[in-house]
């Protein structure tokens, strides 16, 4: 091959590779679907913005399942003020797609408000666009503190914020009290490791843990971040191994969560306890991918699973068991965390906000949202709902579950616990 030819081929290769990366990220096939009821003037249309393709899609779809069950529940009960709820479902797999999809939904006069979006990295740009266009943004999944911390007027979030005391103290109480007791040691004597993905979700979770560790004098001996697309975590695991970590706190998505647990097993890194923070660790694919390596992993998430109706308010309707039953009928398996969060968030919107507002008027929606007052135990997710001035639900909760026989069981806080924390699984 001549030199000139080699050079032109090389530059073409590089240019093409760049084009390809750009193509790979943007599966922007925003479309509508899941509506079911046509678009007559009587229907109440809600824009649903979720990542339904690409790396974030498994949990995005899970949240959509929760929305669908909520929609069916409310429509079967006669709808909202006699109007049937329909969804305008749009796929937002990346922050760039989220910006354009949020723009389209905001500009649609038939869309009353936008509901989404599971991931903070999607919610942050999408809610900014919605607010700029004076459209209410109802967030049921993303927990990054930044989301409600930017002074946007039209964002309301039912799920916990990583900046809330309950999020930080919940983890602190669990680690210093429940976990340390089960490990038979003082929390100050344990060696902690932290791993996280270097995206918005990962860094938010890591910042929260670092603040917690500082406040409680925990000894964090290793702190490692990595790209969510990493194909090999052995160097991260080696760092943890040589730091002799007792308790690992891991924040991440599903592929890296599976990779972390599997490779830890392979490389002989066996901490006494692994606490996984949300997202990847509570995905139904996690147990499938990690197999028995998942057992014993504690998951911190914004909703408790497998709870009994007794721990929730008597007047909650439908009850937790009724929700799980209709979910199993509709979707075909038990609801996991993101489905439950999506369902609970959508039901608050359908039962507490929309009946008390003019869906076409954003100021009226804001007024109704500000007036929401659901007591703790008043949703299937356990928590109550009352929004503070930033639009954050100040009654949102944070819960701990453990994989036991490859099934998530609530272990803390006490009022929701269905089993003790098991060590050495």
């Amino acid at each position: 091959m001549t030199n000139r030819r080699a050079h032109s081929l090389m530059s073409l290769t590089l240019a093409g590779a760049l084009v390809l990366t750009a193509c790979g990220g943007g599966n922007d096939d925003s479309g509508s679907g899941g509506g079911g009821g046509g678009t007559s003037g009587e229907d109440l249309t809600i824009g649903v913005l979720l990542p339904l393709t690409g790396p974030l899609s498994p949990l995005g779809k899970e949240m959509l399942n929760g929305y669908e069950v909520a929609r069916k529940t409310i429509n079967d009960a006669g709808g909202i003020d006699g109007r049937q709820v329909v969804y305008e479902v749009s796929d937002a797999p990346t922050p760039e797609a989220a910006t354009s999809v949020a723009g389209t939904l905001s500009a649609d006069p038939d869309v009353s408000l936008i509901m989404g979006s599971y991931s903070s990295s999607i919610a942050i740009p999408a809610s900014a666009v919605a607010s700029r266009n004076r459209k209410l943004y109802w967030e049921t999944g993303g927990v990054s503190a930044e989301l409600t911390g930017r002074g946007l007027d039209y964002i309301y979030r039912t799920v916990v914020s990583s900046g809330m005391p309950v999020y930080q103290n919940g983890a602190a109480d669990f680690i210093t009290d429940v976990a340390a007791t089960a490990l038979g040691a003082d929390a100050g004597d344990l060696r902690f490791g932290l791993t996280y993905t270097d995206d918005a979700y990962g860094t938010a979770g890591a910042d929260a843990f670092t603040a917690l560790a500082k406040a409680n004098n925990l000894d964090v001996v290793a702190s490692e971040s990595y790209a969510a697309s990493a194909s090999d975590l052995s160097s991260v695991i080696e760092q943890l191994k040589s730091a002799e970590v007792d308790v690992l706190y891991a924040v991440g998505g599903i592929t890296d969560a599976i990779l972390l647990v599997r490779q830890s097993d392979e490389l002989g890194f066996n901490p006494d306890l692994i606490v996984g923070n949300g997202a990847g660790f509570s995905d139904k694919g996690f147990v499938k991918g990690a197999g028995d390596a998942a057992n014993g992993v504690v998951v911190a998430d914004a909703v408790p699973l497998h709870i009994s109706d007794d721990v929730l308010n008597e007047d909650l309707s439908p009850k937790y068991s009724e929700f799980t039953k209709s979910f199993e009928n509709e979707i075909g398996y038990e609801p996991l965390t993101h489905a439950t969060l999506g369902y609970a968030g959508a039901m608050v919107l359908f039962q507490e906000v929309l009946p008390n507002a003019d869906p076409a008027d954003v100021e009226s929606l804001v007024k109704a949202a500000k007036a929401v007052d659901v007591q703790p135990g008043g949703t299937v997710a356990g928590f109550g709902v009352k929004f503070d001035e930033t639009g954050q639900n100040e009654r949102a909760g944070w819960y701990f579950m453990q994989y036991q026989d490859q099934k998530l069981v609530a272990v803390a806080p006490d009022e929701f616990a269905a089993s003790e924390l098991l060590i050495g699984e």
């Binding site: 091959m1 030199n3 030819r5 080699a6 050079h7 032109s8 081929l9 090389m10 073409l12 290769t13 590089l14 093409g16 590779a17 084009v19 390809l20 990366t21 193509c23 790979g24 599966n27 339904l52 393709t53 690409g54 790396p55 899609s57 498994p58 779809k61 270097d198 490692e224 971040s225 990595y226 790209a227 697309s229 990493a230 194909s231 090999d232 975590l233 052995s234 160097s235 991260v236 080696e238 760092q239 191994k241 040589s242 599903i254 592929t255 599976i258 490779q263 097993d265 392979e266 490389l267 002989g268 694919g285 499938k288 991918g289 197999g291």
Partner: protein, 288 residues
């Protein structure tokens, strides 16, 4: 000791990069075609391995030869049906075509198989990991590495020792002269494309026990594949192998010594330095 472990892990993942790169570099060296669909062909091979396992209980390492042969046929069809028309048409036509194939395959996978992450369910292979002098080696990663070594060795032997290999090398050097010498150049192209795609098949089957598969899984790996190809020297199969190992080790060691979130930046910075210092790549092409 820990550093040794990190280097070993880097070598293992490097073998995977090498396997992916060898298919690209072969096609590039012989046909002067940059195959942007190689990542998606890898994705198709991963799904094929997964579906053979899910549907018929075929162990991934048993599926490997089946998938390799199947993908060889796919390569023949791809060349015979599409690529051959663009061979004389210049790079822009070929790039648009292979990119188009890549995007179509991604979309088809999304349509028929969904965007979910899917993982192969299998019993731990040979106990999951081996302990050698205090170093743990994941058996599935070791298997992928061994497969990469065997595949690269076989390819080099084929190019070096057989009549077909001679024809391929002659075509790579000068296709007009080769034709004048009586070498059926079009048939050489056909077989080369078949082998190139078959290598994606081998890589896919070897990767499936390690990684999850989803429609865009090829994109990130392909980017690494291109870096390896250019680093190793365009058209050099041995260079691709060497380049793969170097990239794997640089990635792992920089993750360990600096930070895992910096590893990509460091790999590409290293790549830029190599381009400045030795733009022709590490080795001269075996087939170019």
């Amino acid at each position: 000791m820990t550093l040794v472990q990190v280097v070993v892990s880097g070598l293992l993942i490097g073998g995977v990069y090498a396997l992916l790169a060898s298919g690209i570099t072969l096609v590039l060296g012989v046909m002067k075609v940059v195959n942007f669909a190689q990542g998606e062909l890898l994705m198709v091979s991963m799904y094929a391995t997964l579906l053979l396992n899910d549907g018929f209980g075929v162990h991934p390492y048993v599926a490997l030869p089946l998938v390799t042969v199947g993908m060889f046929l796919v390569g023949l069809v791809l060349h015979g049906g599409l690529l051959r028309w663009t061979i004389s048409g210049g790079h822009s036509q070929q790039i648009v075509l292979t990119l188009g194939v890549a995007i179509s395959l991604q979309s088809l996978a999304l349509l028929f198989l969904g965007g979910d992450y899917r993982t192969l369910q299998m019993e731990p292979f040979l106990g999951g990991s081996l302990q050698v002098g205090g170093i743990s080696i994941g058996t599935t990663r070791l298997a992928a590495f061994v497969i990469a070594v065997v595949a690269t060795g076989a390819l080099l032997l084929l190019l070096d020792r057989t009549l077909l290999g001679k024809a391929i090398r002659a075509t790579a050097m000068d296709s007009n002269a080769a034709q004048l010498m009586g070498i059926p150049v079009q048939r050489v192209y056909l077989v080369t494309m078949g082998i190139g795609v078959a290598l994606a098949g081998t890589a896919g089957a070897a990767l499936m026990p390690i990684f999850s598969v989803y429609p865009t899984v090829g994109v990130h790996l392909l980017l690494m594949g291109f870096v390896v190809v250019v680093l190793g020297g365009l058209g050099s199969v041995a260079g691709a192998f060497l380049g793969g190992l170097i990239i794997g080790v640089v990635e792992a060691v920089s993750s360990y010594l600096i930070s895992a979130s910096w590893s990509q930046a460091i790999v590409f910075a290293f790549f830029m330095i190599i381009l400045l210092v030795r733009p022709q790549g590490l080795l001269r092409g075996d087939v170019a």
